[in-house]
């Protein structure tokens, strides 16, 4: 996947919950080497939009297209290209960190991932806790572990929903270094309320405001 | 009671119900059609 030029295109996304229109005609386009931020007040549909972009939810109208060197990627293959970190995405609480990582890495058909995991675990300051069950982790540690799980396969498109939630200063710095790295030659999508996070982005999508 | 009447009464009750249902649906459809005509959406009616 070297030098691959990925494109993520949203075409007129509309989402309706029962009688309430959450998203109204959202369109944008991002390609490798840039970052986009989704922002808006609470309950404005940021998370809904992220879920739609990741194919976790279908839009009421409109569509999301992933392109690799202007070749459309099939819906069932998209999961190989994306990574997502968000508060609504939980890890398996009963299993240990190592078991979680192994499960996700092997599900993605990765081999020889231990070096990368070791590096990520060090970066997020989780080394030494690999064999404890995730439920014994604090919320901040769980958040960091989610980053590890989402980054093992070096995703072409990384979605981050509320990057700062539950993190301390060191955690935020680690996340920022990752995000800077991601945006260099891949796609980064951040959904945030924080003004500071917006400086990372090349494009800003505001949802829920007239 | 004569079984013929039982049969007849049961049938009549059912049919009255069905015709009432038909009539109500018909009324609702007419109302909707009128509403749509007022909005000039008739070209979408195929």
């Amino acid at each position: 996947m070297l030098n691959a030029k990925m494109e993520l295109i949203a075409e007129k996304i509309v989402k309706r919950f029962v009688h309430f229109l959450v998203l109204k005609n959202i369109s944008f386009k991002v390609s490798s080497g840039s970052a986009i931020a989704i922002t808006g007040p609470n309950g404005s549909g940021k998370t809904t939009l992220v879920k739609i972009l990741c194919n976790l939810m279908a839009p009421t109208r409109g569509q999301v297209v992933y392109q690799n060197n202007s070749q459309k990627i099939n819906r069932e293959d998209i999961f190989q290209y994306i990574g997502l970190v968000g508060p609504y995405l939980q890890l398996y609480q009963e299993l240990s960190a190592q078991e979680n990582i192994d499960f996700f890495a092997r599900m993605r058909n990765l081999k020889n991932y231990s070096a990368r995991v070791k590096q990520l675990m060090e970066l997020f300051n989780l080394s030494g806790r690999e064999h404890d069950a995730v439920k014994t982790y604090s919320s901040g540690m769980q958040q960091r572990l989610k980053y590890v799980c989402a980054l093992i396969h070096e995703p072409e498109v990384l979605f981050v929903d509320e990057p700062r939630s539950n993190l301390d200063q060191a955690g935020i710095e680690a996340v920022y270094s990752i995000l800077q790295e991601q945006k260099k030659d891949k796609i980064l999508v951040i959904s945030t309320n924080d003004q500071e996070d917006l400086t990372l982005a090349d494009q800003i999508i505001r949802v829920g405001v007239a | 009671m004569n079984p013929e009447y039982v049969v007849m009464i049961v049938n009549l009750v059912i049919w009255t119900g069905i015709f009432l249902y038909l009539w109500r649906t018909d009324k609702a459809v007419k109302k909707l059609k009128q509403e749509i005509e007022e909005l000039h959406l008739t070209e979408k009616l195929d």
Binding site: K51, E76, F79, L89, Y92, M107 | -
Partner: protein, 219 residues
Amino acid sequence: MKQIWLIFLKDIQQEFKTRYAINAIMLFAIVTLSAVSFSIGAYTATTRVLAALFWIILFFSSMSGLSHIFIREEETQTADTLKLVARPSSIYLGKFFFNLILLILLEVILIPLFIAIMNFKVVSFQIFLLTMFIGNFGLAGGGTMVAAIISKASTKGALFTVLSFPILLPVLISGISATRKAAESVKLMDAQNELQALLAYGVIIIVASILLFDFVWNE
């Protein structure tokens, strides 16, 4: 293929650590079995009644445990995480094999207990075990699919039995009939119709579920 195996392993691992489904299903089976046994007392029921009782216990115990596997994913909010890494058909099959193992474990406990407590005389173990074996595929196949459906609905527990009963009724009917024959006759050919029906049901429900699972799982 690899994904099916991984999901299956992960569920076994999780189950091994919590033992939620296995406890629920075993306790339910034992409680109903003893309730039935108490209420019948010393009276020896006919094979027809016993066969029906056996399947009712089996059916309702499995109803208490088969849905757990999908409900857990929804309730711990791991469904989306899983959705991001797996193909739908492998999720269905992984969960199906887990439920199959769960049912086999249940039967390993339930069958000897039932035979001992209810004084159920099986003449042809060949028919009996074959019925159980083939019936499991239908039960697990249909049960897993309905579990996936209800895990997306708001009232989960009660809905599972309501929705699975009509779907699994063919298994129940043929299973009861075949079990009765196992207690009455020695020849395998006597239960041929029932076994064929069970087999065909299992194949069809699993194929249909694989085809339809996509629509349940993908939003």
